[in-house]
């Protein structure tokens, strides 16, 4: 009986340990806060600015590319995301690879994360074809009870999405996508070099 009790305890600890996931390794503490290019005022604006909106699941998180030299360097987290469903845009692949650094400060991706991701292609010529979330508003995770939660952002319209189901958000994205296709909503554009 005593042995069985200890066995159960060890099993419980093993289960807990298996839940841990490796985070992108950086030499920095977790406090990272960006000045983003965009901060959207509505879901349609965010859809219009995204290249791809998917329901996905994080399959792996690994230390990614190091950019910059010496103390200036940053290291991206490289996140492989399976594509469960495409809500906006097109992809022929069953998974996409995200690079993350800075936009997801509330919650670096963890294996098993599941939700809706608003993505943009990086296209910066610095590496393979990576995506990133379009901004800190562009990720809604399943809370495990089939409801979505926004963990990176506090804006009013984002908070209104919290509590929706995936299918309810998909309906909202469909409406937004129609508005985008009809030209009623334009992608956000930064006003660099002006003002």
């Amino acid at each position: 009986m005593e042995r069985a009790t200890w066995f159960a305890a060890i099993l419980l600890l093993a289960v807990a340990s298996s839940c841990t996931t490796s985070h992108p390794s950086t030499n920095e503490s977790s406090s990272v806060i960006p000045m983003q290019l965009f901060y959207f005022s509505s879901l349609p604006e965010m859809v219009a600015t995204s290249d791809l909106v998917i329901e996905g699941t994080v399959k792996s998180v690994e230390p990614g590319r190091v950019v910059g030299e010496g103390d200036a360097a940053i290291q991206f987290g490289q996140v492989t995301l399976s594509v469960n469903r495409v809500l906006f845009g097109k992809t022929e692949f069953s998974s996409v690879v995200l690079e993350e650094f800075g936009l997801e400060s509330g919650h670096p991706s963890q294996v098993g994360d599941h939700g809706v991701y608003f993505l943009t292609q990086k296209n910066d010529g610095q590496g393979p074809q990576f995506f990133r979330i379009v901004n800190s508003q562009g990720r809604f995770l399943d809370d495990g009870d089939s409801k979505l939660i926004a963990i990176d952002d506090q804006s009013v319209w984002v908070k209104l999405i919290e509590g929706m189901s995936l299918s309810e958000l998909q309906a909202e994205v469909d409406v937004a996508a129609t508005a985008v296709r009809q030209g009623r909503v334009e992608p956000a554009k930064p006003n660099f070099g002006q003002g």
Binding site: M1, E2, T5, W6, A8, A9, I10, L12, L13, V15, A16, C19, T20, N27, E28, S29, S31, V32, I33, P34, M35, Q36, L37, F38, Y39, V67, G68, E69, D71, A72, I74, F101, G102, L103, G106, H107, Q110, K122, D124, Q126, G127, R132, I133, V134, N135, L141, D143, I149, A150, I151, D152, Q154, S155, A188, P190, N191, F192, G193, Q194, G195
Partner: protein, 188 residues
Amino acid sequence: MARRAPIALALVFVSSFVVSIPAITAQANPFGPAIGGGCAEDWCYNENNHPRIWYANSVTQAWITSLENARFELNVTTDINSTTVAAHDNSDWSNYLANYGNTGWAGITNCMDRNGDICRHWHLRYNTYQGPFTSLQKQTIGCHEFGHSVGLFHYGTHQTNPSCMEEGIMHFHQQYNPHDKSHINGYY
């Protein structure tokens, strides 16, 4: 009873693990509690009100000019009295400029040495991939990153009293608004 101890210990361990997962916890109001009232968030610099600022060799003169204008704004309009220093090891805020690619941000503030709620050393990075920025836009980015370094967070909406702490770089302001200043001066 003793027989149950291992299970109890394991449950305590598992519980503490589950509670520590940062996953699905919503952040508090991103601006309000960041400073003042005891500086409960991560974004506080608390050595004193004399942060020492260093610019890496990678920071061009054009950026330094704009960032210095941002620093003067902080000095002149708040109780902060920052100075510049010639070496990283003597600095509290170290500034870097590099092409970080299409990251989605123009600037980013990282705490490199945290002690509880207090950050003792910041790295401020500016991304040349974005832009090009005018000198005033560079100043806005500096104002924003310096603001984080003294404990300010973001406004999620455009403010009636404009602030460089507004989220996103859709609006370019080079100053802190009265709300920002009251937080800064209330703490330092």
